[in-house]
Amino acid sequence: MEKETFDRFNREMRSFYALIILNIVGAGLAMSFGIAWIVPNITPMIQEQSIQISKLALTGLVVVGCVVALRWLIASVEVFDGFDDLRDDSRVKEAEANCDSLTGLIVRSMAWYRERKANINDLKFGSRVTGAFFLLSAVLQILNLASTLSSTSPFNLTLSMIGFILCLVLGVAGLLIPYSITRFVGTWDHRIEASDEASKRLERIVEGQ
C-alpha cells in the first residue's frame, strides 16, 4: 500500500513540476517577447522625437503585458520555492519507503499547499491575462498581415507568420494553464477538507473521548 501511495505521490509531483516549469517558461517567453517588441518600436520614436499615438498606446499595452508577465514569473518562482525541496525529499524518502517517511511527506506537502495556495491562484490570473494579451496580439498581427499582404516581401511574410504562430501558441498555452491549475487546486482542496475532518477525529482521540 505504501508503495502505491508513494507512486501516486511521485506522479503528482512530476505533473505539478511540469506545470510550474510551463508557467516559468511561459512567463519568461512572454516577458522577453514583450521587450523584444517594445525596443524596436519605441527607439524610432525617441530618435525622430515624434510621437505616434497609436504606436505609443500599443507600446503601453505591451508594457502592461510585460508587468503582468513579470508578476506571473515571480508567482511561479514563489510556488517553485519549497516545492523543489519537497520533490528532492520525496526521492530520498522513497528509498526509505516506510509509513512514517511517507506520512511526513504528505504532512509537508499539505503545509506547503496551505502556505502557497494564494500564489498558486495568482498563477491563474497571470497566465490568463498574458494568454489573452498574446491572443489579441496574434489577431492584430494577422489583421496587419492581411492588409499589407500584397506589398510584403516573402522574407517579411515568413517573419510575420513566425511572430503570429508564437503569439498564438503562447496565447493558447496561457489560456490552458489555468485549467490545469484549477484541477490541481481542486484535488488539493479536497484533501484539505478531508484533513479538516481528520483533525476533528484526532481531536477526539487526543481528548480521550
Partner: protein, 91 residues
C-alpha cells in the same frame, strides 16, 4: 518544516521525532517552533501522557510513550487515506 501546519500535524511531528529520546532544543529546532509555542505543545502532550520526561546525564529528555500509539496510528492511517482516496492530479 516550513508551511502552515495544523495542531495535530505538529503533534504528529513531535511524537514521531521523540520515538528516540530528544532534548527540548532539538524538538523545537526540528519542528520549527519557537520556544514558547514548543513548550506549550510539550506540556499538552505530557499532560495527555503521550510524552514522558526524564533526566539522563543531567539533560532533560522527552520520549514518546505507548499511549501515543493510538494517536500516531490513527494519524498515519487518515493521512495515507487522503492520498489513496479522492481525485489524483495529472497533467
Amino acid at each position: 518544516m516550513k508551511g502552515k501546519r495544523t495542531l495535530y500535524e505538529i503533534y504528529w511531528e513531535m511524537l514521531t521525532f521523540c520515538r528516540n529520546p530528544r532534548t527540548f532544543t532539538s524538538i523545537v529546532h526540528r519542528c520549527s517552533l519557537n520556544s514558547d509555542i514548543g513548550q506549550e505543545h510539550l506540556d499538552f502532550l505530557l499532560s495527555r501522557g503521550f510524552l514522558k520526561k526524564y533526566k539522563d546525564d543531567g539533560s532533560n529528555l522527552f520520549r514518546t510513550t505507548e499511549d501515543a500509539m493510538v494517536f500516531l496510528d490513527a494519524f498515519r492511517a487518515m493521512y495515507l487515506e487522503l492520498y489513496n482516496k479522492g481525485p489524483e492530479f495529472k497533467l
